[in-house]
Subunit: 456 residues, 2 copies
């Protein structure tokens, strides 16, 4: 057989035309979202003021296995998809490993990350419904950038609440969103009740993702004709992101490959959930038994050290409650933690898979992550986002284990994005100024104390 | 026939395996480089202390039509090539033009620009020859980034003299080079004689490309085992960049297309020379007659307002003399000019083609360029580099002419790179703070006065 190429692209007509809904194959369903007031499972009516109709349907639909991707979404997918499946020949050689390492690279679009896959879907459905504009939040900035790009394409106004420290530290990230026409507001802000309340109590706060979510949802439900969109955690997001796993699986099939291990970084779970979806299906249905591995930062360890409990998705405690692995909506990751993956919770679908033993989880220290990132940049000549580099670190560890055991395993990991806007963190690492932060058990107590009391 | 896809990728085995040397088909040769002391044509011996042997050979070889790309270079090309040929369906629709617009996108590699095509070749030959390290300069930063990436891959030490204003205004660009392991020095610096002399005379200077070239060449020839490399202007660079045009032409052939107009931005000429190479051959040999168009900034108009004369390639007047369209090595573009395309001269090959009527040239104001760039970003969802956006502006103008005349011309332009590190300029444009600068005839006088007196 011909040598497998460095970069393998499916042809345009091989782009998946349906998303895959993993819930349809799960033996047990994730627990439902609960209304924050009544603690009853949320209904379509509860969610409709927040999300577009079609997205509410997708959020609550646990039974339809495949959902058609509308032509209007496929048209924009075709601008940057299929994303390449890359054989890491150079990394394999550098590690002297018998393992075969593949990665699905989702950073080759202007927004620079996989977030665009769901941004396009959410913007499209909003436009189709005649929504006047969207509100969202962004932390490290990948989601805000992706949504700005999608909203520019579909000609839809967008307001982004950007966590204040990120707004100030990443002016270029902000400028990209503005170039795409988005309004970008540092959060907390004086434009919302929740923002004003937080600023009154903590005038010097640099913000948090949970707080920005609270502001964005408030603005969305109080602005006529607006809706709120979220880039991770939700079932609908994992559905859209299944395009990553579907393409990766199809490409590997064509190359006569199947992964023994599938690795993804995990913040809210959007990339990991999408990447593993078709492989998790194989595992659940017994077709095959790949290891599925989540890698999270040691400084924000929701799966590895969190509780499986109902929790709010935001700091303002206004959103529905989700059953998930969580550090508590009151948990605030250390300010020395670079990049994304700062969310206190984890996608309910992934939480359930982890709880039921289908998914493993591990955590990585940030200096180890940046060491892996700089090594990877030099060898594979892609400058990875800090988030993605958690998966790189774990993949390298697995490849080294293969070198030691002599096993030629096939490793697939998700390279979710590029690090062009994270050079401050890279510089801090290169200058030896980066520290690791691992919360003590005591540090986690305030977060756990913020968990709501729910009768289950 | 099936609809032409948005992004067309050749397969890996369709990557060109030979570069094309346009000089072999030119009816008249560009005038030779002259020794700066004797004003005699330079010899292999003259150039060998500066460049690697193989590159000297390529620089002086005007007769070999096709030159094999070594396997060790192809291996790295395969990491990011073939680069896509994109059909700008969305732009066509937005402009309501009957024209078919294609662009060859060279920004889909980590360095973010086409400069990588030559950086790889130059680093490879240096490594093969046992060179101990390389020196270069960088202005806007694309070349320095590309060379850093290539040197990391081939494990070769690199010193980059970065024009001081760029070093200070683009710390992230600098950080990317450092992540790839390069030493980055702001120019002028105290590490070279020429740098010290310039600093003594102008202690507050923010540097210039010509000055950084002087420092890099001095450092290269005075450091044992080191050589100098340059990212544009030279014949060898245009040779390596021919991969752009060869891929574009092959892809269009497969799609049963041929351009009526080929458009590229022009600073030193590396992208334009590579893009047009096979089309210029068709034009010279009479096979076809596409229009070939160079677009330069109105603030640095070497082709449209320069003189066709022998000039130094650097400010320090130490390099060989090249016959080219030039504003004089003493010309310094206005500081309000954003991005690259600031070089005082133009590739001798392109200068000759322009002089002989094969190449057209036009200039664009920077606010018009950024207006085209932001429009393009929203519609085609690629954030273009300011340099590349000169070509976008000209392509849009041609497409609008087609709308007016009703002609369905096929336009091909080069999208050389991404603008992630140019967000300061974008912000300045978005905030209405960007100005145009068009030098008066009087402004050009000091540059022309710096031209050397040569008996021709």
């Amino acid at each position: 057989m011909a040598k497998i190429p460095y970069r393998f692209y499916l042809s345009e007509d091989q782009i998946p035309r349906q998303w895959y809904n993993l819930r349809a194959d799960m033996k047990e369903q994730p627990d439902p979202l609960l209304h924050p007031g009544t603690h009853k499972p949320v209904t379509t009516d509860d969610l409709s003021p927040i999300f577009c109709e079609e997205l509410v349907k997708q959020e609550l639909d646990a039974t339809t296995r495949f959902i058609d991707i509308p032509e209007g979404i496929l048209e924009m997918y075709k601008i940057y998809r299929p994303a390449p499946l890359i054989r890491a020949y150079n990394l394999e050689k550098a590690l002297k490993t018998p393992a075969k390492i593949y990665y699905k690279f989702e950073g080759n679009n202007t927004s620079g990350s996989h977030k665009l896959n769901s941004a396009i879907a959410q913007a499209y459905y909003a436009k189709e419904q005649g929504i006047k504009g969207l509100c969202t939040e962004t932390g490290a900035g990948q989601w805000g950038t992706a949504l700005s790009e999608a909203c520019a394409y579909y000609n839809l106004p967008l307001t982004v609440f950007m966590v204040k420290c990120s707004y100030e530290q990443k002016p270029y990230r902000r400028a990209v969103m503005q170039t795409f026409g988005a309004e970008v507001i540092p959060s907390p802000s004086m434009t919302t009740n929740v923002g004003r309340a937080i600023l009154q109590e903590h005038p010097d706060t640099t913000g948090s993702l949970g707080c920005a979510i609270s502001e964005a949802t408030e603005k969305a439900v109080t602005t006529p004709g607006y809706r709120y969109v979220l880039g991770s955690v939700l079932n609908q997001v994992l559905l859209h992101q299944s395009v990553i796993g579907l393409e990766a699986k199809k490409a590997m099939e064509i190359l006569h490959e199947y992964p023994d291990i599938v690795i993804g970084c995990a913040g809210g779970g959007s990339n990991l959930g999408g990447l593993i979806a078709p492989f998790a299906a194989d595992k659940i249905t017994g077709k095959s038994n790949p290891r599925l591995v989540a890698v999270e930062p040691a400084s924000c360890p929701s799966l590895t050290r969190g509780k499986y409990a109902y929790d709010f998705c935001d700091t303002g405690k206004a959103t529905p409650l989700a059953k998930m692995y969580t550090l508590g909506s009151g948990f605030i990751p250390s300010s020395n933690h670079a990049g994304g993956l700062r969310y206190h919770g984890m996608s309910p679908i992934l939480s359930k898979l982890y709880h039921d033993g289908y998914l493993e989880a591990t955590s990585a220290n940030q200096t180890d992550v940046f060491e892996a990132a700089t090594m990877f940049a030099k060898i594979e000549t892609i400058l990875p986002a800090p988030e993605s580099s958690h998966a790189i670190k774990a993949a390298i560890d697995e490849a080294i284990k293969c070198r030691e055991s002599g096993e030629a395993k096939t490793i697939l990991f998700g390279l979710t994005g590029t690090g062009y806007f994270d050079m401050t963190a890279y510089t801090s690492f290169l200058e030896g100024k980066m520290n690791d932060y691992i919360p003590t058990d005591e540090d986690l107590v305030p977060g756990f104390n913020s968990l709501p009391k729910i009768m289950e």
